[in-house]
Amino acid sequence: MSRQTARGGDPRKVNGELFTLTYGALVAQLMKDYENDEEVNKQLEKMGYNIGVRIIEDFLARANSTRCNDFRDVAEQISKVAFKMYLGVTPVVSNWSPAADEFSLLLENNPLTDFVELPEGHDALIYSNILCGVLKGALEMIQMDVDVKFVQDQLKGDNITEIRLKFIKRLEDAVPVGED
């Protein structure tokens, strides 16, 4: 065939594209089904949570990462390993709270919002809210209750996307013995 060989782009880029486009179509569908943006945010978080509780096992099985003994390790693992592995980007960890129980992930480019232009009148929508759910679900499986939310979003005109993680408590009861 006259066309070049590697048709359709390299696999890694395509995976990202397929994920981004499917996610976009999902958000668009949710916005048709649910009138207010808060409900859409909730649905996205819920879906993210369901993914998080499963993807953590894939992450732990695949990347033989060490035990996270404190929140700094967690930040390191999330940004340097997990984000790189699954989204191909490495967010910068910064804005540590004095008690080192809160930090931010700064994303130069958020792969989920590659080509997205929000329609007017949807300021309450948190487009990439699924990421918060994934992080919450995953960390809960390793006995960490965290609060995750977007504080800055390039989609809304901010010059960087910032996800804020706050350590709330260790989930004592769910702690599988031996890891306490």
């Binding site: 096992e57 099985a61 695949r62 769910a174 890891e179």
Partner: protein, 217 residues
């Protein structure tokens, strides 16, 4: 060189998967003349050899069948009491099959949750906090290898004492769990795993480990 069985226990101590690999349990069938030299007794609702060993029949073996009729607890299929049947001279010569009974599912579930608590004790006994918990239990007949993931899933593998490369198998089992249980939309977390594809991949992993791990010893 053998891997005997695999147990997967969820973070609450519930058994979510169990597989007996080569379940070729030795069974011995002999024809006896009166009187029977073996001393039998009722134990845990089964007829068990209490004393006397010959031709491969060992203390602890259970009566599995008499003249081909399978035993069900203390009775034979059809209701005849095993001890009475064996006690009456006119029934001789009599052919009795002895062997190790397979653990029933309930027994496995109970043993799994007991191991879960034992694992916890192992941690409390540890001089330093944050110990890994039990990783190896060793007896003359088998070794029990255990790996608990950070999310609390325990992978337990029972192998022949000389089996090697079991850590590799434990890691592989975790990958199979992540790939074929968690990525299966019909599997819900912490529930028993009943996906055939998971079975297939787990068995394949065991076979590979058995070949690789048999090594030279």
């Amino acid at each position: 060189m053998a891997i005997y069985s695999v147990y997967i226990i969820n973070k609450a101590g519930g058994l979510i998967y169990q597989h007996d690999h080569n379940a070729t349990r030795p069974e011995v069938e002999k024809t006896f003349s009166y009187p029977l030299e073996l001393v039998l007794k009722v134990f845990d609702d089964k007829i068990v050899v209490a004393f006397g060993e010959r031709d491969g029949i060992k203390v602890g073996h259970t009566v599995l069948s008499i003249n081909g009729t399978p035993a069900e607890g203390r009775f034979l299929k059809g209701g005849r009491d095993i001890l009475e049947t064996i006690g009456m001279e006119e029934n001789y010569p009599i052919s009795i099959k002895f062997g190790r009974p397979k653990l029933t599912t309930n027994e496995k579930i109970m043993l799994a949750s007991m191991f879960h608590s034992l694992f916890a004790i192992g941690c409390q006994l540890s001089p330093e906090p944050r110990s890994s918990g039990i990783e190896l239990l060793e007896t003359d007949m088998f070794k029990l290898h255990c790996h608990q993931t950070m999310t609390g899933i325990k992978f337990v593998v029972m192998t022949d004492p000389r089996q090697m490369a079991v850590d590799g198998l434990l890691k592989k089992l975790y990958e199979v769990y992540a790939d074929f249980a968690l990525k299966n939309p019909f599997y819900s977390l912490d529930m028993p795993i009943r996906c055939e594809l998971f079975d297939e991949n787990l068995k394949a992993a065991i076979e590979i480990a058995e070949r690789v791990g048999s090594g030279s010893t």
